[in-house]
């Protein structure tokens, strides 16, 4: 069972997160302040941590920094009410692996935790495979079974990101940040959907088994395992 340490001082938020993660069969340990949290992180070695940035006693980023100084590499998702780009950059620089601004949708949190837990390993493979899909990173070609898929560079980039994280829920915000490198929320809200629509149109030809799935209200999944 995957164990997650949550350091969050607001009891209601913490309860909601704990309940939601427990439903998805995570084992969650909760610490209401930084000092306790750091203690748990050092002794019980969780698989991932969710750390609120502003904590009584010891600031969330200080906790992360202390862990990193001890060479503890547990992936950390920083939660914060500070949404400015500068705050985010600081949060990531001090050892956070991902940064989520409050208020957030619970699916967003879960998707990001999953992503952290299943971070693609640094491999040198040049061909990505997900189900019938094959992506040649050197030739820059894609094929589904026998069928050659003709992709634009931006579509190739998107598919590559999704194949590296196949069978994971990818939220719109994650895609915007990681694929398009957006540091802001675009005014057009369906930006990602339009791009995804294009890609899906090419990947899932009529009659094919659908690989790219739209998860209503949350994001997209590339299902490699059927």
């Amino acid at each position: 069972m995957t164990r997650i340490l949550l350091i969050e001082d607001d009891i209601e938020t913490a309860e909601a997160i704990v309940a939601e993660l427990a439903e998805r069969s995570f084992e969650v340990q909760w610490a209401p302040n930084g000092i306790e949290g750091l203690d748990h992180a050092r002794t019980s070695h969780p698989d991932a941590m969710i750390v609120d940035r502003m904590l009584p006693g010891m600031d969330g980023l200080t906790v992360v920094e202390a862990l990193r100084n001890d060479q503890i590499r547990t992936p950390v998702l920083v939660l914060s009410a500070l949404g400015a780009v500068d705050d985010r950059v600081r949060g990531l620089r001090m050892g956070g692996d991902d940064y989520l601004t409050k208020p957030f949708a619970i699916v967003e949190l879960v998707a990001r935790i999953e992503a952290l837990l299943r971070r693609p390993t640094e491999n040198r493979e040049t061909v990505l495979v997900a189900g019938p899909l094959e992506l040649d990173l050197i030739e820059r070609t894609a094929r589904r079974g026998e069928r050659e898929i003709d992709l634009l560079p931006r579509e190739f980039r998107l598919l590559e990101y999704m194949m590296r994280r196949s069978d994971q829920l990818l939220t719109r915000a994650m895609l915007l940040e990681e694929v398009w490198n957006y540091k802001f929320v675009p005014a057009t809200t369906n930006l990602i959907d339009v791009h995804m629509g294009r890609l899906r149109h090419k990947v899932d030809a009529p009659g094919d088994v659908q690989l790219i799935h739209n998860v209503r209200g949350s994001g997209f999944i590339l299902r490699g395992r059927q």
């Binding site: 400015a84 560079p153 802001f184 005014a187 057009t188 791009h195």
Partner: protein, 520 residues
């Protein structure tokens, strides 16, 4: 306490210092006059006795004693001394007892202590005296006591007492008066300022009619207060706008939830209601996020994230992102790049600004239209233009679109937060670039930037950025440019928007000064 304050006040201390200096100066002047006068009187008296002794020496011997006696007789003020002595020193005539010892009988005038014959207090004054040994061996001594000196010194002393003391007192009094007056005005200003601080924004400082520095200062401060009052009112307006814009989606969410609670009978119905409510809340959050972002950019004076940014790359990327969306809407999106150009700026922010412009253009252009992204440049300037075949922004709305939450009535029903252009304006302003909104019909918005090479050549220390006294509005209209009505010298830009200083074409634009009064 108050008295101490008044004595310690600057005005009073200055008055005191001036009074003291004046008194010293006057005393010095009097001393000088006294000395000069004294010297003159002595010289005159010396000439007189020299003439006399010549005259007497020329008299026959028998008449000398008589002449000496006459001289003494006529002297009513008893300032003359005379003595005629035989060759052996015996007194023949006059009121001097004996020839003073060590006295040169060569006809030069000297100050000597004489021994008078009959003396009142037995004192022997120092007298200007001349002596000569005559041809027949007799010795003639004439002296004159210059007693006017004492009179002069007493007159001078009196004049000093009559002149300097009142003048000094007058000075001190004037100083005290000025000091009290200044303090009174400061106190009045303080009271009014306290009222302003307490929130009474309409309060102003007393200006008075006089053209003294105090009144001018008051006028300057009042001008500033006018400006600030306008700005605060505008901000309050923005607050109202925010409240209003937040209220709309929140109302929808609330209504949906309320209806769902009463009417939903199945889980599906309840979920539908909840989705609606979440959408409403998400829109409110989007507004808050956009607003915070705007504030973040507007307050960001740091240029730490600045570097050389290739504008052509940004344009291609933006085009890449929006191409499918435009295509879906049946709009042709094209990018025309003259040649690659680099500017000095924050890559992410410039991307955000251009993406926002394209987003707007795509949103407001009807199907079948065109949106064109352009990049033109020369050695000094770069111009990013986003034009479309949509309705454009008409004259009356041009200023308003930069206001937060401004949404034209025509587009009330288009989704969006209404902060897009203000955000672009804020980013453009941060870079010291210029936002130009073209005339309708057809939308056209341009960002006039300055090339990286040009800004590197003229770059100012970062600490100077934004410290300029003049706030420059980033908006200028294309018409005004074409008409050539707005023109401004480069020097006036300096210290405000350093990167603009460099741009030849930018210097033709008219910045609208918000604090005119600092110019004087």
């Amino acid at each position: 306490m108050r008295q101490m304050q008044f004595i310690r006040s600057n005005t009073f201390l200055w008055a005191l210092a001036v009074a003291a200096t004046l008194a010293l100066f006057v005393v010095g002047l009097f001393a000088f006059v006294y000395r000069e006068l004294d010297d003159y009187l002595i010289a005159r008296s010396d000439r007189m006795i020299t003439t006399q002794i010549h005259f007497m020496a020329g008299l026959p011997r028998d008449r000398r004693a008589r002449a000496v006696a006459d001289q003494l007789e006529q002297d009513s003020r008893h300032v003359h001394y005379a003595g005629l002595f035989s060759a052996r020193g015996a007194r023949l005539a006059g009121n001097i007892d004996r020839v003073p010892s060590g006295f040169d009988l060569d006809g030069t005038v000297q100050g000597v202590r004489l021994d008078p014959l009959e003396t009142a207090a037995g004192r022997s004054p120092i007298v200007r005296t001349v002596g000569r040994r005559l041809d027949d061996g007799d010795v003639l001594v004439l002296g004159r006591h210059v007693d006017e000196t004492r009179e002069i010194s007493s007159v001078v002393g009196q004049a000093l007492a009559l002149g300097v003391l009142p003048a000094f007192c007058l000075c001190v009094l004037a100083g005290a008066w000025l000091s009290v007056r200044a303090q009174k005005r400061v106190e009045e200003v303080n009271q009014r300022v306290q009222r302003i601080v307490a929130g009474e924004l309409r309060e102003r400082l007393p200006e008075g009619n006089a053209d003294d520095p105090f009144a001018r200062l008051a006028r300057i401060v009042n001008g500033m207060l006018d400006e600030m009052e306008t700005m605060i009112n505008a901000l309050a307006g923005v607050g109202n706008d925010i409240a209003h814009d937040l209220r709309t989606p929140l109302t929808r969410a609330r209504l949906a939830l309320e209806r769902g609670r009463t009417h939903a009978t199945t889980l599906a119905q309840l979920q539908e209601v909840t989705d609606k409510a979440i959408a409403g809340i998400d829109q409110s959050l989007a507004i808050v996020t956009a607003l915070l972002r705007l504030t973040e950019i507007e307050n960001n004076r740091r240029t730490a994230g600045f570097g050389n940014v290739a504008l052509d790359e940004i344009l291609r990327e933006v085009c890449d992102v929006y191409e499918p969306i435009a295509e879906d809407k049946g709009i042709a999106l094209g990018v025309v790049i003259d040649r690659g150009v680099q500017v000095w700026g924050d890559r992410d922010l410039l991307f955000e600004a251009i993406a926002n412009l394209v987003d707007n253009a795509v949103k407001f252009t009807p199907a079948g239209g065109r949106v064109k992204l352009e990049l033109k440049s020369d050695d000094r300037t770069a111009l990013v233009g986003v034009s479309d075949t949509g309705p454009g922004i008409n004259e009356q709305e041009r200023e308003a679109v930069l206001r937060r939450f401004y949404r034209s009535d025509k587009i009330r029903n288009t989704p969006g937060v209404g902060l897009g252009l203000s955000l672009v304006a804020a980013i453009v302003k941060l870079h010291g670039f210029r936002l130009i909104i073209g005339p309708a019909p057809g939308g056209r918005v341009e960002i006039l930037a300055c090339t990286a090479r040009e800004s590197a050549a003229r770059r100012m220390p970062i600490s100077d950025v934004g410290s300029g006294k003049r706030e420059v509005d980033v908006m200028a209209t294309r018409d005004a440019l074409d008409a050539g009505t707005c023109r401004m010298s480069e020097t006036e830009f300096r210290g405000v928007t350093p990167s603009l200083v460099a741009c030849a074409s930018a210097s033709l634009l008219k910045p609208v000064s918000r604090f005119e009064m600092w110019e004087c």
